[in-house]
Structure formats: C-alpha cells, structure tokens
C-alpha cells in the first residue's frame, strides 16, 4: 500500500498533480472560510490558476491559458466590487445555529457517500489518448463545425446578458 503510494509520488507528473489538486481544494476551502472579500478572491484565484495547471498537465495549453486570461480579469473585477460594495469596518458574526450545522454535516457526508459509490462502480473505458500538437487549431475546427450552433447560441446569450446588465445599470442611474 505504502509502496504504491511512494511509487505514485516518485513520478514527477503525479507529484505535480497532487500539488495542483491540493491547491485547488485548499483554495476552495479557504474561499468559504475566510472573512474578508479580498482574501476570498485570492483563494479563488489560487483555485483557478491551479486548475489551469491541471489543464497544462493534460496537454490542453489553450484551455489553460484562456482560463488564466479570463479568470485573472474576472478575479480583478470581483475584487473591485468586493472593495467598493462592502463595508470594511463591520465584521458582524453570524449567529451559530447548531441544528443547521448538523444537517449540513449529514448532507455533505451523504453526498460524499453517493459520489464515492458512483465513482467506485463506474467503468471508465480505457482508450488510447494521443495528444494533438495542434490542439488550438482542433478546438477551433470543432467549435466552428460540429458545435457551431451551441457556440452561436452561447454568444447570443452572453450578448443578451451584457445588454441586460447595461440596461439595469442605466436604470439605476436615472
């Protein structure tokens, strides 16, 4: 058992995987537990950037860097909103509710069990994976041939959301 574990870790790739996934989880946990908005955003950034690291390990560089590019900007915006719209001085603690916490615990344990069982029983078809050197190009081709309708739909949806946001903001100005 232990030997397997050491074996697993002696592989550089696995080690990286462990580090990245730990960071993803740690970031997520801190995001929930930290008190100040800016700290939370930093935790979130850790998660997203580590996720990008995982993508790189899967030879999906395009996805990884787009992830960083988009989320670095998003994080900054989030931070600005956090700073602008929260009061820094007041730190009112929410009252602890015991029953609430117990229910939460039960719920998450149940969810974990379900996931665990599902993954245990699942059969992943093993398939030879060839990393394509030109995966950026492949993404482009896929996106604009097979998935062109969903792609366009998503862009329309985003445009609608964008315009909607502008209208909402405008109305408040008046």
């Amino acid at each position: 058992m232990l030997e397997n574990f050491i074996d697993f870790l002696s592989n550089g790739e696995n080690l990286l995987f462990i580090i990245f996934s730990m960071l993803v989880i740690v970031g997520a946990v801190f995001l929930i537990n930290l008190q100040r908005v800016v700290h939370m955003v930093i935790a979130l950034a850790t998660t997203f950037i580590s996720l990008a690291g995982l993508y790189v390990m899967l030879d999906a560089e395009f996805l990884a860097f787009v992830q960083v590019l988009i989320y670095a900007g998003a994080m900054t915006i989030l931070m600005i909103f956090g700073i602008m719209m929260t009061k820094h001085e007041k730190q009112n603690e929410e009252p602890k509710r015991a029953l609430h916490n117990v229910l939460l615990l039960v719920g998450s344990i149940g969810f974990f069990i379900i996931l665990y069982l599902a993954i245990q029983d699942a059969v992943f078809p093993i398939q030879e994976f060839t990393s394509n050197e030109e995966n950026t190009k492949m993404i482009g081709i896929e996106l604009f041939t097979w998935h062109v309708i969903p792609f366009e739909l998503v862009s329309v949806l985003l445009t609608v959301a964008f315009i909607g946001a502008i209208i909402v903001a405008k109305r408040e100005e008046d």
């Binding site: 602008m84 719209m85 929260t86 009061k87 903001a169 408040e172």
Partner: protein
C-alpha cells in the same frame, strides 16, 4: 440598487500637487468628488500682526515671503501704498526700474505656473524648460539686488540699487530669446491632444460667478471680463506703454492657460518699450525722511500681480509703524471658488482645477 462606499480622502497638507501646505478634504464616490472642503492656514505667519510692530521699510521683506513666486510685485504694492499716503513723487529712473522688474517678475511667475501646471497634468519636461528661462530672470534679479527669491529691492520712494552696467542690455537681449522660447512652448504643449482634452471645458465658470467670487487676474479675464488694473486703474507708469489685455471667454482651465500665456507675450511687449525709453541716468530714490511717518489716514492701493489684484490697506496714525496693515491677497480670494468648482469633477480634475487657479500658499495663508 447598487451603492458604493464613499471614500473620504484627505488631500494634503503634504501632497505633490497642492503647491505647498494646502489641504483639501474630498468625499469621493468612485473617482467623482461629491464634496470638497479646503483647509488653509498651515503657512499662516501673521504678517499683518508682525507688521504692526515694524517700520514700513522693515515690513517690505515680509511681503517678499508672502507671494514668494512674485516678490517684486509685493514689494511694490506696499511701497506704493505708503507713497500714496505720503503723496511722494518717484524719480523716473526708479519707476522704470520698478516696472521692468515687475514685468520680468510677471514672466518668471507665469513660467513657474506654466511648468508646474504641466507637471500636475503629467508632462515632466516643460517644467525644466520653464525653469531654465526663469533662471535667467532670477540671475538678472540677482545681479540687481543680490537675492534670488526674496529680493527686498524696492523702498518707499524708489529702489535700493541702481541697475549695474549692462544690465538693461541683458533685459533687452532676453526679450527676443524669450519670444523664441515661447514659440517652442506653444509647439510642444499648446496643441497637444492629451493636454487639450485635459484642460478644455474643465473647471468652467461664467463671468457672473467670477465677479461674484471676487476673482481677479487671469481667473477673471478667462471669462471675458476685460479688467486689468494696469489698464483700468493705472498705477506706476503703465499708462505710457502700449499693450493688450488678453481675454478669453470660455472660462475653463484652457482659457486661463491661454490668458496667462498671452500675458507673458504682453509683458515682453511692455519690457521692449520700457527698455527703449529707459532714462540714461537719474536718481533712484526720492527724498524721503529717514524715519517714514506717513500722515494720519487710510489708503487702499491695488496693483495687478501675476495672480490678480494684490491690495494693501494701510491705516496710519502718523507713527513709524502702521496702525493696521492688511493685504488683499489674490490667491486667498481666488481660492474660495475651489469647492464650488470641484463638486462633480473627478479626482484627476482636482489637480487640473487647483493648478489652473494658480495659488501660492504663502499668499493664501498670509
């Protein structure tokens, strides 16, 4: 409804763009100012109180330190007030020397303003160009009276030192040189798109407001009011020279910029004529008693300093010391309009507007 937190920002008293120890408390909504409260008095030295225990001649160096960027005009306004009280006749040569140094001082002061204003706006080079030219003027003053900033040059009845050999020629040579440099300035800055975008339409007010707030100098003339004490209520020998009073109608920072810029050119015009008409020789001091005791009475004289109307109100009780000496300091009066101009402007425009008013804190605080 999304509400953002208001930010209370304390600008100054130590801040690179307040031109001294000026403090302004601004409430910011994002980058927009919703309220501005100026706080002054950090440089208050009680000149007026000190003057009550000094003889008139002893007060003159204190005026140097009021508007330290334009000490010559301050010297003059005090001397002029006492002379008016005493009804003194000033020798021709002294009047010419006074006028020449005052106009040189106006150029020097506007150059300081020009350089620092552009520095406020973020252009660093004009500052050094302007100071190079100012340095030449200061060197001339240095030759004349041995001081570079606080001259103590004028006395009641005339000036302390005669122009040394060749000094007038230096002034004469300076005029075409300065004209040349002004063209250079214009090419570098006056047409720059970013500069224009920064100053056009910023800090706008109309003539009515300007008069209501008692603004003077370029701040008033930028709104279309053609009022220059050198023309409208002439003092010294200004009525002998030909010059225009530059006026703009927009009333924004750009108009103020243009007015000041044009004023430099007009000062050069006056200097040109003054240098030509400069009397060959003559006395530089009127006959003044050793201890100056102006007759009992009251006088208010005002002259056009680079920053506007500087006035001196003297109440004399026929003593060597003034009973009450009050200066109308143009920066102090001009600064009052600032809170009104700032509301609704961005933090960046704060600097532009404050710089556009052209204040000297030594003068604001007296």
């Amino acid at each position: 409804m999304i509400r953002t937190e208001e930010l209370l920002l304390n600008v100054g008293p130590q801040h690179p763009s307040t031109h001294g120890v000026f403090r302004i408390i601004v409430k910011l909504d994002g980058e927009v100012i919703t309220e501005a409260t100026p706080v002054i008095g950090y440089l208050h030295r009680g000149t007026e109180k000190l003057a009550e225990n000094l003889t008139y001649t002893q007060v003159i160096p204190y005026t140097d330190r009021m508007d330290y960027v334009s000490a010559m005009t301050n010297n003059y306004v005090l001397c002029h007030a006492v002379e008016t009280l005493m009804d003194l006749e000033i020798p021709e040569r002294a009047e010419f020397l006074r006028l020449i140094v005052m106009e040189l001082q106006r150029i020097a002061s506007h150059l300081v303003w020009w350089g620092t204003y552009l520095l406020d706006i973020g252009a660093m080079s004009p500052f050094l160009y302007a100071f190079r030219e100012r340095e030449m003027i200061i060197n001339m003053f240095n030759e004349l009276c041995g001081a570079r900033l606080t001259y103590f040059y004028m006395r009641v009845g005339g000036v302390k030192w005669d122009a040394p050999e060749g000094w007038i020629d230096k002034v004469r040579d300076f005029i075409p040189y300065m004209r040349d440099k002004l063209d250079e300035y214009e090419q570098l800055v006056s047409g720059n798109e970013i500069f224009l975008a920064r100053v056009k339409g910023v800090g706008k007010y109309d003539a009515q407001t300007a008069i209501d707030y008692g603004l003077s100098g370029a701040n008033l003339r930028s709104t279309g009011v053609k009022f220059d004490l050198r023309k409208n209520q002439p003092y010294s020998i200004y009525d002998r020279f030909e010059f225009d009073v530059p006026v703009q109608t927009e009333g924004d920072c750009y108009a103020r910029y243009l007015v000041r810029f044009e004023e430099i050119k007009q000062s050069l015009r006056i200097l040109e004529q003054a240098v030509e008409q400069f009397p060959e020789d003559g006395k530089i001091m009127a006959k003044v008693p050793r201890v100056i005791r102006p007759p009992e009475g009251e006088v208010y004289t005002r002259i056009e300093s680079p920053r506007g109307e500087i006035g001196c109100h003297i109440v004399s009780k026929k003593k060597p010391q003034p009973y009450r000496l009050k200066f109308r300091r143009p920066s102090f009066v001009n600064l009052q309009i600032l809170p009104k101009l700032l509301v609704g402007e961005t933090m960046t425009n704060l600097v532009t507007i404050l710089g556009g008013i052209d204040i000297v804190l030594g003068e604001v605080d007296g």
